[in-house]
Symmetry: D3
Subunit: 133 residues, 6 copies
């Protein structure tokens, strides 16, 4: 189904293994998920993407669960099957409750609705929204 | 620029005024923003949209600022000019810090990147993500 | 603002003028709109696009107004500023009433909402929808 | 495959059963389709979404088949697998002919094409399209 | 799974066979792929789409492999499963190397990232980009 | 218009100036364009984004003009106003001819068209496209 072969740890070159090791250590998982095995066909892209993701998903001004829920929301809007599955699972693993998931779904679909309405009517932007923040 | 005329309070029929009054009361603002004035051309849509939005944006399992940031994230992914402007302004008004905004931007763009990669490679979904939650 | 210059009739080569003439005759308008003037930078694309559009917008199993409203709906979903403006204007010119426009807006935004929900939850397709029509 | 469990009628709480009953009665079907069983995990979202959909799909200024075809068109543009399947089936059930379906497909793909062209060239909007309707 | 039946050569009317024959001759393949068998339900759309595609994919100012890679890039951005599979396979058949594919993936995902950032921040367009080319 | 202030070189902190200097040196330009001035509000995102972009746009298995054209194609599909303007201008600066630009436009719009058709009909993927490359 995939357009690329999945690279398993035992078949991976050293620079790929190094990234896989870091993912497993950082996330405390026994194996990396398919996204990384697919990306491993391109070791430079693998390293770059993982390093950026690790940095961005680190707790910061936003807590890890909030970050994961925002990731789900964007993945739904961009309609990425794999990412919806993996990030929804991650959000539940990080403690998302059914009530929070329900509100997340409501927000994503409500935003899609008003996005469509505002785009359809080409609503002029109110002056107060244009001031530099 | 708009495909519809903006309906001002003074020119609005009673059922539109009732919604405008509720928006102003709920948000504690002197006037409604252009989105509602545009939607007021269709009083039923105005009422339905406002009632749903009011219910969804109410504090619940997610706090109002988190909700607003998710709204921004989806609006960026859906590329709605008006909504990006209005919800970014609302998020700042609800206390979003520059650090939080920076992380929100990083998340939205990182998700766009991995969404594209996973879609391009048609990564097969790992079995553990397919189990019912 | 445009990435290309707009080609005016008086400056156009014969093969562009021929298409412009056909557009004006078919639509009974004194001049072509900017889309065609922009596309005229690439005469082959101009000819191909116009011939296909003329064929598709012709009355057939669907009447011209229904066609125009479907065009508006897709242009909103694809978020094309120019096309939303031009096809909304065309729909009104072909007799779309305010009530019809209100229902069109409601449909486009409702579909955006349920599209997001079904994509987010990855709803399995019911067997009856999979049967060949 | 779904990120949520499907709620069957016999396992549903009363407020979900009430909505399921209304869907079955309104559509004259023996069971609700999977979309509603998935959404039933969030009874408030279920009720809200159904009530809005029922109101919007009711015959009005647009007839039910036209509404269904517009729903298909938007679902294609938003690329919602489930919705494309379910609404295409509904449109055929409401009497869409093969000829109408062919024209619908032609419109959706033609609009996608000119949407891309107008967005790529950033065609300036003609003054006559900017006048308030 | 498909919303239409696939039309096989032996069951096709003459005008469909003529297009199938031209596709097979042009591409030097023993049978047409499913896209054309699906589109064959609407012979006029089949003919129009094939004639345009044949003209556009012909070697011109851009070589066939570059064209195919651009086609993959757009199909990823538009998230078309079928097209990603078929055009990635075609690009490999036309000589795309793994290194080129890796750079193509990197470009598509990088563009998605900066597209999201520029849209999110509503970056004003620099004057030098607005001059007519 | 922007949701953020543009950071000018003279007002930028040292870590931002270092990135600006590298952009100017790499591209041989007197000043950075607005995208970077906007992103400079978040110095870490600025550094990360620039370093990745510099690496990806470097000549490799694909030449710089091909890369720029692919960037334009994705930006059109993602409908990013700023990116369409800036990358179209960059492609012309790197030697894109009018004929190449015309073919690029034709490809982007043709792909949008067949993407919509394949998504609409849910064309089943041919077995030969599913084999691991």
């Amino acid at each position: 189904m995939s357009t690329v072969a999945l690279i398993q740890y035992k078949d991976a070159p050293p620079e790929v293994r190094a990234v896989f090791d870091d993912i497993k250590r950082t996330r405390n998982v026994p194996d990396v998920n398919n996204f990384w095995k697919a990306l491993a066909n391109h070791p430079e892209a693998l390293r770059r993407t993982w390093e950026t993701l690790r940095e961005i998903m680190r707790p910061g001004a936003l807590d890890p669960l909030t970050k994961e829920m925002i990731y789900v929301a964007v993945s739904v809007a961009n309609n990425c099957d794999y990412c919806i599955h993996s990030h929804t699972a991650s959000a539940f693993a990080k403690g998302m409750t059914e009530a929070q998931y329900g509100e997340l779904l409501a927000l994503v679909s409500m935003a899609a609705q008003t996005n469509a309405l505002a785009n359809a009517m080409k609503v002029p932007i109110d002056p107060q929204y244009l001031a530099a923040p």
